[in-house]
Symmetry: C2
Subunit: 292 residues, 2 copies
């Protein structure tokens, strides 16, 4: 019964705001909390939440609580929520890294009421004003350590993600973090760095305006992403990300050497290797799913 299930959303940014927006639309009562009071005001103004509450009050009043804040703070906040919430409630996080978060709540008496989630959705924008309808529709949500969640809590979480239009996949948290370093976190470092390089080296910004085409726009798009969200992810997933980053730099050095030597055949080989990514992207189109 939607009218009987009260939803709490902690963190009213892009992810939390978009969850609230979708669930509010289908009739849930949404309580919101954000450490930034301006975000609460904005979220009410934008009709994303019904009202704002202090964290403890929200934890006590909501049946399902989503925690959608920077990953480095997520573990602490989940534990705070669990301390206050009832034994019937469920708390779900949406963090982009999972190992440390799972570890930090493992010994909590209410661990069974927690479901570790990561909806694979987002845009390069942030804050409540970035919240949009249907952000999650047709996308995947990763759930980690599902065996440590109570069966009914897991059911409720899967049901909520289903309401958002998401398919749930189960995965080990360490595996999750390793894979995300390659397919998401590294892309962000590469885009941020492309952004700073072009801005620093190309002093004449009017020429960037003139000459940048859609290729540049798509490659650099993620460079608009939030500093707080991503610095938190990079530190939290530093081991895997550093491995990916070192490999990336060594691959760049290969390109650099081949270009220095004007070795067209070598460059062609490197590009042909990269072209293999087509298979992966075609796979994405067909939405291939493997349950692990």
């Amino acid at each position: 019964m939607k009218e009987n299930r009260v939803i709490g959303v902690v963190g009213l940014g892009l992810i939390g705001g978009s969850i609230a927006k979708d669930l509010h639309k289908v009739g849930y009562d949404i309580l919101g909390f954000d450490s930034n009071p301006i975000h609460i005001k904005k979220a009410i103004g934008l009709d994303i939440i019904s009202r704002g509450l202090e964290l403890e009050e929200l934890a006590k009043s909501a049946d399902v609580i989503f925690v959608a804040i920077p990953v480095r703070e997520t573990g602490d906040v989940i534990r705070e929520v669990m301390d206050s919430m009832s034994w019937n409630s469920v708390v779900i996080d949406t963090g982009s890294t999972k190992k440390n978060i799972c570890q930090s709540v493992r010994s909590h008496t209410k661990r069974g009421r927690f479901v570790a989630g990561h909806p694979l959705a987002g845009t390069e924008y942030s804050g409540p004003q970035a919240a949009i309808f249907d952000l999650f529709k047709g996308k995947k949500n990763i759930i980690c350590e599902e065996h440590l969640s109570d069966e009914d809590a897991l059911d409720i979480a899967v049901e909520m993600f289903d309401e958002l239009g998401m398919q749930c996949i189960f995965m080990d948290p360490a595996e999750h973090d390793k894979h995300m370093a390659y397919v998401s976190h590294l892309s962000h470092v590469s885009a941020f760095t492309l952004g700073t390089t072009v801005l620093d080296i190309e002093k004449d910004e009017k020429q960037i305006f003139n000459l940048a085409s859609t290729g540049f726009e798509s490659t650099v798009r993620l460079a608009k992403s939030s500093p707080h969200t991503w610095s938190s992810i990079f530190v939290e997933n530093s081991d895997h990300l550093l491995k990916a980053l070192k490999y990336y730099i060594s691959e760049l050095e290969k390109f650099k050497t081949a270009i220095e030597q004007k070795d067209e055949e070598k460059i062609k080989d490197l590009i042909s290797e990269a072209n293999e990514i087509r298979r992966v992207l075609n796979g994405l189109k067909y939405n291939i799913v493997k349950l692990s």
Copy 2:
């Protein structure tokens, strides 16, 4: 009079094919040449060109000849075309680098009949099958060394680009190459390298399928681009590109160090700097134009 102007297209790939397709649609007779005979057959089958001719025949028969082949071969082919074509004809190239091409034709007796162009348009696909209608519509075309083109030749070229829906901007060839290294060629190296890194390091491709989201897709999109086209560009523009690439690697090292030190504040600063690219991308949306 469209029915009276015969167009020749040398190189029936993405760019040449798309030029032919648009101009064929509005009624021009299109002659095609490609060093790969399969491309000629395909282009006829796809109704991109009216018929295929040998290069010399094409040069003799067409009033306007587009040369849309890898940049390292462009200068030679333009000169070959100029040797055979009439004094009334115009040859236009579409190469992504301009300095060497302009230099290599500068002393030809028919230099005035050449217009050095670079339409800022493309996709990550290649070959005649990649040719699409309206690829150029609303985009910009750079013309270099316009003072070395005869007035009527320049008029005809601008008219042709206008037919394709393009706005022409004039620019010095060395300046063009420098700016393109930053806003286009570097993005391609970064995407190719991201592609090889993810493929090499992430052995479990099914997990790439599962976990890659739209962010990864947009950042890596250019990694599907043609080896022949891009190896040619990278070698041709190696000086500027190496400068950009070295700077890019040094910026990556900054990120790496900050992540190694788990210095969240430093990472935030680096990301905030990168966020400034928003201004540039917003500029793109408004299609700001500066004539140089």
